[in-house]
């Protein structure tokens, strides 16, 4: 369903932060879209060898949270700095974090490995009663390390943000849900400012194996290793999960104006839908995604002819890509001039909870330069990298193999040269 907004210009975006395997900051990730580096293995999409300390206000936090939480905190702080939001200047009771967080990982329980091994009997069988004697070898904070709301906690502490907040664990749609949730809270008068986005690290070996067994992961091959979205069902190769995080600063327009911030986009409408078929089940016949797109445009008061760019998920998973592309084509079926369709997936990989958020940075860049990086253009869209910036509305879509969909409708501003 869609956000019911009577004041479509209320919520604006004023900053963005991001970290992926391409580097920290939106600039590094835009550069990767312009000049995609060669990737040959799944590990190339992991964030490795990164020193978070210079990016964190409280460097000690890395000792008490997981590596994926660190990514979230880095991107969170990156977005706050990018927006010029100052801890001293915010109203703490009306500032909050909205976060898309990954589920706990099996590796979170590695602290118990020693206790588990000590709990085996002479035959190697695990004895649960014995574990009650041996679990103390684990760190006292083991339970806390795996909490999915660590970034919410430590991020709020860093910014002294004490207002409404939330923490979504909905996989691919989480990043968008954080923006939708924050926008709703702002429009209901609960919040002035929110930092919203998500972080992802689905690289736990159990998760990787489980997703692969569902047939969703692209298999390693020789040469370039990248998502190739929108292939036919027979040719589709699957997705590549990437590590990373992306956050945006969202403010009420008057609050941003009061501190002299220049918004780069306005959230006109947003919404979510579901095929309601259960886990790992998509169903094109439900029509829930096309219905969502029509509804959000209607809610935002936007005609499809005003849409200049559509950024899609492009997961590389046939069932998902098919539904996503057909929903867009359905939306644009009456349009004589087709806007370019683009996706960051071939370069950034599938950022899961962080997906669909860094795209706001890409839109800012694209509307400033009047072109999209060629690496993002979807192969069968009959467009060039140039596009008409007079059509100042863009859509950002997310589609998941769980049959869940989200869409943001944004109007670009302040970046047209």
């Amino acid at each position: 369903m869609t956000l019911n907004t009577n004041k479509p210009t209320d919520v604006v975006f004023t900053g963005i932060g991001m970290i992926t395997s391409h580097g920290c900051g939106i600039e590094a990730n835009l550069e990767a879209l312009e000049n995609p580096p060669m990737r040959t293995a799944a590990e190339d999409y992991y964030v490795r060898g990164f020193d978070p300390a210079p990016h964190l206000s409280d460097r000690k936090v890395v000792k008490v949270v997981s590596a994926r939480d660190v990514l979230g905190l880095v991107a969170f702080e990156n977005s706050v700095r990018n927006a010029g939001v100052k801890k001293e200047a915010i109203n703490p009771d009306r500032t909050g974090l909205y976060i898309g967080a990954p589920p706990s990982a099996c590796t979170d329980s590695l602290n118990y490995a020693e206790g588990i091994e000590a709990s085996r009997n002479a035959y190697g069988d695990l004895q649960e009663d014995a574990f009650g004697l041996h679990y103390r070898s684990a760190s006292p904070t083991t339970l806390l390390t795996g909490l999915p709301n660590n970034v919410l906690c430590y991020g709020s502490k860093t910014l002294d943000a004490r207002g409404p907040n939330s923490n979504y664990t909905c996989l691919e749609t989480s990043g968008h849900l954080s923006i939708i949730g924050a926008a709703r809270a702002m429009r209901l008068g609960r919040l002035d400012c929110a930092i919203a986005g998500g972080y992802s690290a689905h690289t736990d070996p159990v998760h990787t194996a489980s997703v692969r067994r569902r047939g969703l992961l692209k298999n390693p091959s020789t040469g370039s290793f990248a998502i190739t979205p929108y292939r036919s069902v027979k040719e589709a190769e699957g997705t590549i999960t990437a590590e990373g995080a992306a956050f945006v600063a969202m403010e009420l327009r008057e609050v941003a104006a009061a501190r002299g911030a220049i918004p780069f986009a306005t959230l006109l409408a947003s919404g979510m839908s579901s095929d309601a078929k259960g886990p790992f089940a998509t169903d094109r016949t439900t029509g829930s995604f096309p219905s969502l797109l029509r509804r959000v445009l209607n809610q935002g008061g936007v005609d499809a002819s005003r849409v200049g760019v559509i950024l899609l998920t492009g997961s590389g998973i046939a069932a998902v890509d098919t539904i996503e592309l057909s929903a867009v084509r359905d939306l644009l079926s009456q349009e004589k001039i087709q806007p370019p369709l683009a996706t960051t997936a071939p370069v950034w990989g599938n950022l899961m909870e962080a997906g669909g958020v860094g795209e706001l940075g890409l839109l800012k860049y694209a509307f400033k330069t009047g072109r999209l990086p060629r690496s993002t253009l979807i192969g069968d869209s009959d467009t060039s990298a140039q596009f008409n910036r007079d059509r100042d509305v863009a859509l950002i879509l997310r589609a998941s193999p769980w049959g869940e969909y989200t869409c943001l409708v944004v109007r670009m501003e302040g970046v047209l040269t």
Partner: protein
């Protein structure tokens, strides 16, 4: 109370269905009856062998059988872990009561889900024999993995309901389902949805998570007297006791419910949510965050503290929570000026973690409906630093139209949700 901008117009949000699976009853009515009887369902842990843990007891769901009537496909059944099964039954009870599925005129594009779900239940044998042995490339391991995914229950329930409005799953530790209720309330109040299935489900009664809480020193170790271990606000309390279960609601736009002739059980009229922005486990010593959540909910409801007759406290039975929450309550509802009576029903149900907020809000709704305050069980000597008016040891009649339910989570999330009595 701090001033806040006046709120935009919102739709009235009512409750048209409640379902629960708890340690003291496998329906909401049974649970309420158990609470009024002061029933304590604590016993030795049966889910695994906890003999050598400092806390070897818990509040566990009893005599449970998954209700598969009509809706649950074998494929989806495989995806439901223990908490998921509780969630399924509770949702089914709530939906049956609401008659939402009996009505052909429902636009299911305007029906969504918003649940607070736990972090899953890691199984020690699976972990030791599969994960540590690198044997996870099997269908069983895959299924196990995804059955413990937070959004799995939400997605399965959306298929039961056929709700195409979208699925939201929230995790903010012990505040998860309180927060889910609040967001569901906002989803309907804003006009975005006509109805939302909301609530929570959790079970952390397993070796790893019990070990995790033991390592933090959060659980009661009263092994020689478990029935008196969960004793919120009592001077002799020394930790909480794990519970498990689920509680689900149908929140619905008042006009929508009225137009289809649904029975209205109660109204949700206020929501407050804050972050303490302090520490991961500790509450702010002055109640920062908890105070503001209650104030925000009161403002949201458009009522004063004097209007509230009953507060279902988070009341975990830990030394810190109960003192700080009492301090916060006493600041918002000063004794002598306000008549609100406080109780924590965790003495009877244990701590349902991610499902706690939902169950305790349901208890608050029932308390209003029946005009009875649940008893303070296991309260022998009130901690003098918990200076609030606590409920008596027996159920007591009261007259009020409003009740407030608090949830406070690791990570600093605080929620307060206010229910209003609907007089038939």
């Amino acid at each position: 109370m701090k001033t806040m901008p006046s709120r935009p117009h919102r739709r009235r949000v009512v409750i048209t269905g409640i379902g629960a699976v708890t340690p003291i009853g496998n329906t909401m009515n049974d649970t309420w009856n158990g609470i009024i009887e002061g029933r304590k369902a604590v016993r030795s842990v049966e889910v695994f062998d906890a003999t050598n843990f400092p806390c070897d007891f818990a509040y566990q769901v009893q005599d449970f059988s998954l209700d598969t009537c009509g809706f649950l496909s074998p494929e989806h059944r495989k995806f439901l872990n223990r908490a998921g099964q509780f969630g399924w039954n509770a949702a089914r009870e709530a939906l049956i009561q609401s008659h939402l599925l009996d009505n052909d005129s429902i636009d299911f594009d305007r029906v969504a889900l918003c649940l607070g779900v736990g972090v899953g239940s890691p199984d020690m044998k699976w972990y030791g024999n599969v994960y540590l042995q690198n044997k996870f490339e099997t269908d069983e391991a895959t299924l196990y993995h995804f059955s413990n995914y937070p959004p799995t229950l939400t997605t399965v329930l959306s298929s039961m309901l056929g709700a195409k409005g979208g699925n939201v799953t929230i995790h903010t530790a012990c505040a998860s389902s309180g927060q889910a209720l609040g967001e569901a309330y906002d989803m309907v109040a804003s006009g975005d949805y006509d109805a939302v299935l909301t609530g929570g489900a959790d079970s952390m009664i397993n070796p790893f998570q019990m070990a995790g809480f033991c390592l933090l020193g959060a659980l009661s170790s009263r092994k020689n007297d478990p029935s008196h271990a969960s004793r919120p606000f009592d001077a002799d309390r020394e930790g909480f006791v794990l519970g498990e279960g689920a509680c689900m609601f149908v929140f619905e736009d008042y006009e929508h419910a009225k137009s289809r002739g649904a029975e209205i059980i109660g109204e949700v009229c206020g929501y407050g949510v804050t972050e303490s922005a302090y520490r991961i486990t500790d509450l702010h010593p002055e109640g920062r965050g908890t105070i503001e959540a209650m104030e925000m909910a009161l403002k949201d409801a458009g009522i004063t503290p004097n209007n509230v007759g009953y507060i279902n406290a988070h009341g975990t039975s830990t030394m810190l929570n109960d003192r700080v929450e009492s301090l916060a309550i006493s600041k918002v509802f000063p004794k002598g000026q306000c008549n609100a009576v406080v109780s924590s029903t965790k003495s009877m149900t244990g701590h349902l973690i991610s499902a706690a907020g939902a169950l305790e809000f349901a208890v608050s709704v029932y308390a209003l409906q029946k005009q009875v305050i649940p008893p303070s069980v296991n309260l022998f000597q009130q901690d003098e630093l918990c200076d609030v008016t606590l409920a008596k040891c027996e159920p007591q009649p009261f007259k009020s139209d409003y009740a407030l339910s608090n949830s406070i989570g690791f990570g600093g999330s605080n929620t307060s949700v206010i229910a209003r009595r609907i007089v038939p």
